[in-house]
């Protein structure tokens, strides 16, 4: 069958990822042809692309003209996630430059891969078909595999890439298995068609569908590092270059959630499945394991990895709340979107500081390396303190607001136990977050000369800090954006 595709519309609507795609490929070419050693041009071009893409996505979001092309959808939900991805990409680019120079991994492909991985994420956000969703996941993930292992000389990086690859492959395999079952049961992979089909599902086919959902969920939970699919996460986060970790922890997590959204939108009408216990259990397991094991960590990247697992758990609280009564409550979904934004801002800031710590020569990855930072570099220590406080969820940071909305939406539907566990987990998390703060201010550290920080690095720290505090006090605009985005989701 042929389909009349409105190519013009597609071009306009798809500008956000098309720009990135174009620039990514261009960078690959330039890398080959470029004569000089200085790769700054790559950075500049990347930033240009990001800026352009941001503009397009923003414009589309404001215009709010949803459109679907059967395999791709262009609604506010997609665009807001595009914006989230772009923000993560922006900060990652800013903190990358000097870092990758020092790590001897400065190559054009690095930038290209970042851009192209983001394209994959955007595919996920705009997915209107399970195939597109899966392919988007794969584009993103393979880019991530390579970026994780790009520090070829370091065994930890190799280990990270390999583990990610093997386990990711298993998860992807299971996911495709599930998608195949979907097709087998309904005859289509298109989300809009699936949505209608599920409304009239009958028992003879339902088992297959349930199986399918289970397997797809396995794949998606792997991506967001929910327990018990999280085991790859600490090793990979630790081994990958810090800037790549920052990107993975924020953008990929958000992408995982948007994929979950898309899938859940269609399967939520399957009333035979008790969603809330499932999602609650996942949430509790993820939060608890993430927080408890984080207590034991001495490496800050690993700690942040477990922390990101825990935060995925908190977001799952919102998902559990959203799934109550087999309808997706807007408030809960909006809270999750908001949380993705909040979490991205804070975590990027924290990672930026970790990158800055390595600035002085040797990679500072242990928490003990932060000792005495309060005296040596008070501004940096203060910024880190804010980020740690934000991660714990203490006002007046955006971290608090995010958790607040999540838990509020859960209380609205009556999931009191879940919220209590969530809050208790936040309390436990205070130990290791504030442990960093304590190390910075109350422990004596080695004294050494501190070279001035790169401008871009400082800018990114400043931007994230500003975001954390400003939106912590005036979150309304951002939250409204998040809520609006989940309002009219189309298929």
């Amino acid at each position: 069958m042929t389909i009349a595709t409105d190519w013009n519309m597609l071009l306009v609507k798809g500008l956000p990822f098309l720009t990135l795609l174009g620039m990514g490929l261009l960078l690959l070419v330039i890398e080959v042809l470029w004569w000089g050693k200085d790769k700054t041009i790559m950075l500049i071009l990347s930033l240009l692309a990001v800026a352009a893409s941001f503009y397009f996505a923003w414009d589309q979001w404001i215009q709010n003209i949803p459109w679907s092309q059967q395999l791709l959808v262009f609604d506010r939900l997609s665009y807001i996630f595009d914006l989230i991805f772009l923000f993560c990409l922006l900060i990652t680019l800013l903190i990358s430059r000097d870092h990758i120079k020092r790590e001897h991994i400065e190559r054009g492909e690095y930038y290209a891969l970042l851009l192209l991985a983001t394209v994959g994420m955007m595919m996920m956000a705009h997915a209107g078909d399970l195939m597109v969703l899966f392919l988007g996941i794969e584009v993103m993930t393979i880019g991530a595999y390579i970026l994780a292992g790009i520090k070829k000389r370091h065994s930890k990086s190799n280990e990270a890439a390999l583990k990610y690859f093997i386990l990711g492959g298993i998860a992807a395999g299971l996911m495709v298995f599930g998608i195949a079952f979907f097709y087998g049961a309904t005859g289509s992979t298109q989300l809009s068609i699936l949505n209608q089909t599920f409304a009239e599902v009958d028992s003879s086919q339902s088992v297959l569908i349930f199986l399918a959902v289970a397997l797809i969920l396995v794949g998606l939970c792997f991506k967001i590092a929910a327990v018990p699919f999280h085991f790859w996460s600490p090793d990979v986060y630790e081994g990958a270059p810090t800037t790549v970790t920052a990107f993975m922890a924020t953008a990929i997590k958000a992408a995982g959630f948007v994929a979950l959204f898309r899938v859940l939108f269609i399967v939520i009408s399957l009333t035979h499945i008790p969603w809330v216990p499932l999602l609650s259990t996942l949430s509790i397991a993820t939060m608890t394991v993430g927080n408890l094991v984080a207590l034991r960590q001495t490496n800050i990247k690993r700690m942040l990895a477990y922390s990101s697992i825990a935060h995925a758990g908190y977001a799952l609280v919102g998902l559990a709340a959203a799934a109550k009564d087999n309808q997706l409550s807007e408030m809960a979904l909006g809270a999750i979107v908001f949380y993705m934004m909040a979490y991205a801002v804070i975590t990027l800031g924290a990672f930026a500081i970790v990158v800055a710590m390595g600035h002085r020569g040797d990679e500072a990855e242990e928490i003990s390396d932060f000792a005495g930072l309060g005296q040596r570099h008070p501004l940096l220590a203060a910024a880190m303190t804010v980020f740690m406080i934000a991660l714990t969820g203490i006002p007046p940071t955006i971290g608090f607001i995010g958790k607040f909305y999540l838990f509020a939406s859960a209380i609205e539907v009556g999931l009191y136990t879940l919220v209590v566990i969530g809050v208790l987990n936040s309390v436990v998390s205070a130990y290791y977050y504030l442990g960093v703060v304590m190390t910075m201010y109350f422990k004596e550290g080695a004294v050494y000369r501190w070279p001035p920080l790169a401008y871009l690095l400082t800018t990114s720290i400043f931007l994230t800090l500003l975001g954390t505090l400003y939106w912590g006090v005036f979150p309304k605009d951002l939250f409204l954006m998040a809520q609006e985005s989940v309002r009219q989701v189309i298929f």
Binding site: F210, L211, V218, V293
Partner: protein, 657 residues
């Protein structure tokens, strides 16, 4: 009442009464703090001006308002200055109520208070913490005025607590001496026990009224509201009155909560005069008079009040017989006289009780200030056995003290005669013969120990320590002037309440009638005049002779006394050691509580359970959990895959089954 006088409304004037001492306290307090920062003392003239001036001004305003009320026969009910508390239905507005009863109390408080403030100038002249003293003293005056002028029960309680606080601060004024500090603490703690009763009573009244659906938006527990709704309170009246009386026992030092008052003599003598004689300790009596409508609903409670009052009067008087410290004697005397007041209100003669309160303020203040004068003149000597023959050395003190002694003993026509007589007469006439007998006997004992005190201090040969002999002189005018005024009042103060039997018009009782209406005197019909006359003459003769005997014994025949005491030393020791009440309390109450707190609550409860189990325990548990969980992260990809598969199985099973 919107009458304006000189452009100031009456309401504003009413607010000035407590407001002025508060202003004085704040200014003095600030000055003290600022001076302390640079290690100095605030300038005396400023402190004195504010410290004495504000109470005095307050007294002027009070007098003025008194005349207004007298001419208009209206009370002044001010609008709330602010709402102190508004929780659901419980609203406490901060407003004053100046009626016949409260204006009387206010006159006493501000009048006698001003005199004592003036006295303090001379007495505390050499003290290093002169500024702190006046701050506290003004603060006390403010609290007392709030207590007396408040138009609702919670406000009275605010004042109640405030005077308790100031009492603590002033008793322990010389806190560097641990004994004095301890006395302050003791006063505060015992007061607290009483306050507990007061609070419970307030809760009870409030819940009773709200359960009946009374609209209390105008102010919860307003006296006006309480009086209007008193029928609704009838079922809980006994309990509430008894609970309130517990509070009164604490504040007014009745059995069993009187133990703090003798120890309170550790404070400066003017403090003893003001707080522990004239004003604070009378708060309990005022409270009962104010709530007379409530007490009248419960004859049982009133019997309890009267009985406790009478017994306390007797009990304290007997202790006073054997004390040797001049201030302690006066302290027990105060307890005893307070007992009289409670006896009066307990039998229903509310105005008689208040009358005695007023006269007591005059002569007791005079006595204390006189004692202070003696102590000051003898350079801090307080043992009466080391005094004597001060008649010539301190003539003004001697004379005023004599007037006051005559008043307290009950010699006609001194103030104490009329008030005490009124109480005894009412007691008799209302049928409480036993209580009357106790009161009658106590009057004799009172006469005895007061004359004993007087004789040992001022008469006879001097037993003063030779080192102190030389520079003994009369006190300065700032001290003697108040003495003289109070002495005069001790003489003529009772004349406002001369009953008809003595050809008086009993102004006092008629004045209070609008407020204490139901509880005023049994009609003085002519045929009762006979009984009253007989009783009056009897008591006069009784106290006169006992007093005279005491005077002679203790001024001339001291060896006699010493031999008697030696023969009956066991009686004497019990009396002197206050019936060992403090020791009994310590054994029964204080030691067990201390043991409980230390061994059980602290060692076990706090250290082991809260610290060990809950705080450390939870931390250890979480730590352990974290350690166990982290063991799962082995680093082996195969294991990761295993967990993945297990999770997949779990999900699939969940979905399929």
């Amino acid at each position: 009442m919107d009458t304006l006088v000189l452009g100031i409304s009456l309401e504003t004037l009413a607010w000035l009464i407590p407001g002025l001492p508060l202003l004085g306290a704040l200014c003095n307090g600030c000055a003290t703090l600022m001076a302390r920062r640079s290690g100095q003392v605030a300038p005396k003239p400023l402190i004195t001006f504010l410290g004495v001036g504000t109470p005095f001004l307050s007294f002027m305003v009070t007098t003025f308002l008194f005349f207004i009320i007298r001419s208009t026969h209206h009370s002044i009910d001010t609008a709330p200055l602010f709402t102190w508390m508004a929780v659901d239905d419980f609203i406490v507005p901060f407003s004053l109520y100046v009626d016949q009863l409260s204006i009387v109390m206010t006159l006493v408080v501000t009048g006698v208070g001003s005199l004592i403030h003036l006295y303090s100038v001379g007495y505390m002249a050499h003290d290093k913490a002169y500024d702190r003293y006046f701050t506290y003293l003004n603060l006390f005056l403010f609290s007392m005025l709030i207590l007396v002028l408040g138009n609702n029960l919670p406000m009275m309680f605010i004042g109640w607590e405030g005077v308790g606080l100031c009492s603590y601060l002033l008793i322990g004024f010389w806190f560097q001496d641990p004994e004095k500090a301890y006395a302050g603490k003791k006063a505060f703690v015992v007061n607290r026990i009483g306050d507990f009763g007061f609070l419970l009573a307030m809760f009870l009244l409030y819940t009773t009224l709200t359960q009946q659906g009374v609209d209390m938006r105008g102010g919860s527990l307003n006296f006006a509201t309480l009086e209007a709704q008193r029928q609704l309170l009838a079922p809980v009246a006994t309990t509430a009155c008894l609970l309130l009386f517990v509070g009164a026992c604490g504040k007014s030092a009745q059995i069993p909560l009187y133990i703090w008052l003798p120890d309170a003599m550790a404070g400066p003598t003017p403090v003893s005069a003001l707080i522990h004689a004239a004003t604070m300790v009378t708060a309990g009596v005022y409270m009962i008079a104010r709530l007379n409508f409530l007490y009248l609903l419960s004859p049982d409670a009133m019997s309890v009040v009267a009985t406790v009052g009478a017994v306390t009067a007797f009990f304290a008087a007997t202790i006073g017989l054997a004390q040797n410290d001049i201030k302690k004697i006066l302290a027990y005397s105060t307890i005893s006289q307070l007992g009289y007041m409670f006896l009066g209100v307990g039998v229903g003669a509310f105005s008689a009780g208040i009358f005695h309160l007023v006269t007591h303020a005059f002569f007791k203040a005079c006595l204390f200030l006189g004692a202070g004068s003696v102590i000051h003149g003898l350079h801090e000597e307080q043992d009466i056995w080391k005094m004597g023959g001060l008649r010539h050395k301190m003539p003004v003190t001697f004379l005023t003290f004599l007037l006051a002694v005559a008043a307290i003993v009950g010699i006609i026509p001194f103030a104490g005669f009329f008030s005490k007589d009124e109480i005894l007469f009412q007691t008799f006439m209302r049928g409480h013969r036993v209580l009357w007998a106790i009161g009658f006997a106590t009057a004799g004992i009172t006469a005895f120990y007061m004359c004993r005190l007087f004789a040992l201090t001022f008469l006879g040969k001097s037993r003063i320590d030779p080192h102190k002999e030389a520079p003994i002189h009369e006190s300065p005018l700032s001290m003697t002037l108040p003495l003289m005024i109070l002495g005069l009042l001790s003489l003529i103060g009772g004349w406002i309440g001369i009953p008809e039997v003595f050809k008086g018009h009993n102004y006092f009782h008629h004045w209070l009638q609008p407020v204490l209406g139901a509880g005023t005197l049994i009609n003085e019909s002519a045929h009762m005049h006979g009984t009253e006359l007989i009783l009056a003459v009897a008591s006069f003769l009784w106290v006169f002779h006992v007093g005279l005997i005491a005077l002679i014994l203790y001024s001339q025949k001291l060896d006699w006394i010493k031999r008697c005491v030696k023969k009956m030393d066991w009686v004497y020791n019990i009396l002197r050691d206050k019936y060992y009440v403090d020791e009994i309390y310590d054994f029964i109450l204080i030691r067990p509580i201390h043991w409980l707190s230390q061994q059980i609550l602290w060692r076990f409860g706090d250290e082991q359970i809260i610290d060990g189990l809950m705080v450390n325990g939870s931390a250890k548990t979480i730590n352990l959990a974290g350690r166990l969980l982290s063991l799962m992260q082995t680093g082996w990809t195969q294991h990761y895959a295993l967990f993945l598969a297990a999770g997949a199985l779990g999900l699939v099973a969940y979905f399929v089954l």
